[in-house]
């Protein structure tokens, strides 16, 4: 294992105070003199010129090159108005093909920006003009859908102001875009994962932990436990494939040390639009000292709910309102789900103020429920409230035996099959259970508006999320994209998608172009989303109205999982 000297390691995790995109100052020499990251521009209006290029950056003390828009990382915030027609001229100044996908935006398929599926991509030197009507409002984002450009910096926020007065009034309005930066070449990261999938996992059970475990429970139980994990080709600390061992986590492009700061006056209502623009990282977000009122999810207004913490899956967005009353700083603390690092930012009455940064939570290893086993044999993982033992809480979806209808799910494409899965929308997920804080779950999310098309689905499509972690293979139903046929929907039909997570990892599943209307465990419409996150051994269903023709991407939004084949085309005919 590579080890960094303590000081270098600290700088690597915390980042440089002066990190960020440096192009504006003209090259490497100027970079050294830079004292603040260039603030990300906000572009308003109906016509935009976006130039994709390479920009030198330095987040950790090592000079690197990022993929940027107009020289910025994150890319400029685009502010649109519901009802406008927007025109976006995107010019490629890279040496490779590029693309921009407008995540969560309803548009014609040929404007969706997925090379090979919705258009040809944008070749070097070329300009592609996107044009579409804006038919929604809220918080969204955009990113490259080419290669690993999303990992190297090509992501930015979209805020669409509603045509009517916004029902969520606030005195301040900030986007808070979380992301993960690596100094490594993402292709190398991917190759390392393929050769050695736990390369970045620094929390594997060691001989010492086996001995500790044996001390508590006896060697026989401890060894049986270890053997069981090995047979499953899984490992109970397998929370994230790519971790703080290579990542520096950013808030609005700023490292924890650079400390992005949003200003407020005590008593003001501050709207924070959280966007997870990471390639691979789920974040658990809290602001010690403040209650967060969640008012929107994936751009859609939800009935307000007060929480102390929420988990944001890759590609999800959550809008929250906070009302800091005191004349002091508050830390926006976003720890990576695997607790290998964190992003940090600050809300403060004056620039330069800061609050203490909490310790990261302890790692919680996965338990029997996450493995889809009926009994909690290991005793290592408490069940969430209401789900102890058999029967569980029918209201949020108790355990059900799972059918595995696809023979292809067995074999190398999928190394484990859970016996029981459950919907448990009220489960905050691994690492957040029973942590003493009020944590948001999907059970809390209820759209304010019902969908215009709220018909019951006429048929059901069941897909299993499958993987073989030891070989870094990821797929739907054990078949990776290159071997799979598209999912065909008839124009105008309403379909229920049932997703069953057969793996032990958490996956954010994104359907382009069409809403995913999450169902409650009793089959009623609950909340409209564009990205649905599934915990290990979880079963979730949602409705889709096939109301826009064309080819749509449907994939796990963990970048390396998508690249590995956890991707399907959905065709609306």
């Amino acid at each position: 294992m590579r080890t960094l000297p303590p000081l270098a390691r600290r700088r690597f995790v915390q980042g440089l105070a002066a990190g960020g995109a440096l192009a504006a100052l003209g090259g490497w020499r100027a970079a050294l003199a830079q004292s603040h990251p260039a603030p990300t521009a906000e572009l308003r209006g109906a016509e935009f010129h976006l130039e994709i290029g390479e920009t030198p950056v330095n987040f950790t003390g090592a000079a690197r090159v990022a993929t940027t828009v107009n020289g910025q990382l994150p890319a400029p915030l685009l502010r649109w108005r519901e009802g406008d027609t927007v025109t976006l001229h995107v010019t490629n100044r890279l040496r490779e093909q590029t693309s921009i996908h407008w995540h969560g935006i309803l548009l014609p398929s040929n404007m969706d920006g997925v090379p090979g599926l919705s258009f040809d991509g944008i070749d070097p030197g070329q300009t592609f003009t996107y044009r579409f009507d804006v038919r929604q409002s809220g918080t969204y984002w955009y990113h490259s859908h080419s290669g690993f450009q999303e990992q190297t910096g090509l992501y930015g926020a979209i805020v669409i102001d509603p045509r009517r007065r916004d029902p969520i009034a606030s005195d301040r309005d900030y986007t808070v875009l979380l992301s993960d930066w690596t100094d490594e070449d993402p292709m190398r990261v991917f190759d390392k994962l393929k050769v050695m999938p736990d390369y970045y996992n620094r929390i594997q059970p060691s001989m010492q932990s086996l001995a500790d475990n044996a001390g508590d429970r006896g060697w026989r139980a401890a060894l049986a436990d270890r053997l069981m994990w090995e047979r499953m080709r899984m490992n109970p600390t397998d929370l994230a494939d790519v971790s703080g061992a290579t990542y520096t986590y950013l808030t609005n492009g700023a490292t924890p040390a650079a400390n992005w700061t949003g200003l407020f006056k005590p008593g003001e209502r501050v709207r924070l639009r959280f966007i997870n623009g990471s390639a691979m990282t789920y974040f658990d977000v809290r602001i010690p000292g403040l209650t967060m009122t969640v008012v929107a999810a994936d751009g859609q207004d939800v009935r307000p709910v007060d929480v102390e913490e929420f988990r944001i899956g890759v590609a999800e967005t959550y809008d929250v309102i906070v009302t800091p009353a005191q004349d002091r700083a508050y830390t926006i603390f976003s720890q990576a789900m695997d607790r290998s690092g964190y992003a940090r930012a600050t809300l403060a009455p004056r620039a330069g103020m800061q609050a203490s940064v909490p310790e990261m939570d302890r790692v919680q290893v996965l338990g029997m429920m996450d493995m889809g086993m009926a009994h909690d044999m290991s005793g290592s993982q408490p069940m969430p409230a209401g789900h102890a033992g058999h029967g569980a809480d029918a209201g949020q979806g108790g355990m059900v035996e799972v059918r595995h209808p696809y023979p292809a799910e067995r074999g190398v494409g999928n190394s484990m099959l859970p016996d029981v899965v459950s919907t448990r929308l009220d489960d905050p997920g691994p690492g957040l259970r029973d942590n003493g804080r009020r944590v948001l779950t999907y059970a809390d999310l209820r759209s304010v508006r019902e969908p215009d098309d709220n018909r019951a689905p006429s048929r059901e499509i069941e897909l299993h999320l499958t993987g073989n972690m030891e070989r870094y293979m990821w797929s739907f139903n054990g078949v990776k994209f290159s071997d799979a046929r598209p999912i065909v929907l008839r124009h105008g039909e309403r379909v229920r998608f049932v997703l069953v997570n057969d793996t032990m990892m958490t996956h954010p599943i994104h359907l382009h172009g069409l809403w995913s209307d999450l169902e409650s465990p009793d089959g009623a419409f609950q909340v409209r989303k564009h990205t649905i996150s599934l915990n290990p051994a979880q079963r979730i269903s949602y409705r889709v109205s096939a109301d826009t023709r064309g080819n749509w991407a449907y994939h796990c939004h963990l970048l390396y999982h998508m690249e590995a084949g956890m991707f399907r085309a959905v065709v609306v005919e």
Binding site: A169, T293, R303, V448
Partner: protein, 165 residues
């Protein structure tokens, strides 16, 4: 939004014309007008009250659970009431007085064209934490409904009723 307001006021003007026509026709020879659909807006719900004649004040809270508290109130016919409305939620709510049919029609219009805003005397629209009031004279016995016509709220059950005794 301007268009929507204009359209709304046109609809209201049209409704008034209908009322006048119906009353005129009715007053003439008692001809049966039932074949002519009466616009809902003409149903009697009372009229804006004179603040000097207020005999009673009623407090109503609006919240994010999509409810009014209380959602049932009683007044006497002929009474002028001040309704103090407080938005205790985190998102905008409004209280609009009307008949059920009227509220439903307005709500459907709001869903199609959410640019509309209610600033008439029978309505109060409040951002989070704000308070406002309606002074209203309820002149005929019966039931006057109220609702929040923000998209999604009315259909989620954010409605109530005034029993005029």
């Amino acid at each position: 939004m301007k268009d929507a307001l204009i359209r709304l006021s046109q609809a209201a003007a049209l409704a008034l014309l209908f009322t006048a026509a119906a009353q005129a026709a009715g007053g003439h020879d008692g001809h049966n007008m039932s074949s002519m659909a009466m616009p809902a807006a003409t149903a009697p719900i009372g009229k804006p009250g004179d603040a000097a004649r207020v005999t009673r004040t009623i407090n109503i809270d609006m919240n994010d659970a999509m409810r009014f508290t209380p959602d049932r109130i009683e007044v006497k016919a002929g009474e002028t009431v001040r309704i103090n409305v407080r938005n205790v939620g985190k998102i905008r709510h409004e209280l609009v007085l009307g008949t059920d049919a009227d509220l439903k029609a307005h709500y459907d219009m709001m869903m199609k064209d959410p640019g509309m805003r209610h600033e008439e005397a029978n309505a109060v629209s409040l951002d989070a934490g704000e308070s406002g009031q309606i002074v209203w004279r309820f002149d005929k016995a019966g039931t006057v409904s109220f609702g929040c016509l923000e998209p999604g709220h009315y259909s989620a059950g954010m409605k109530g009723a005034v029993s005029v005794l």
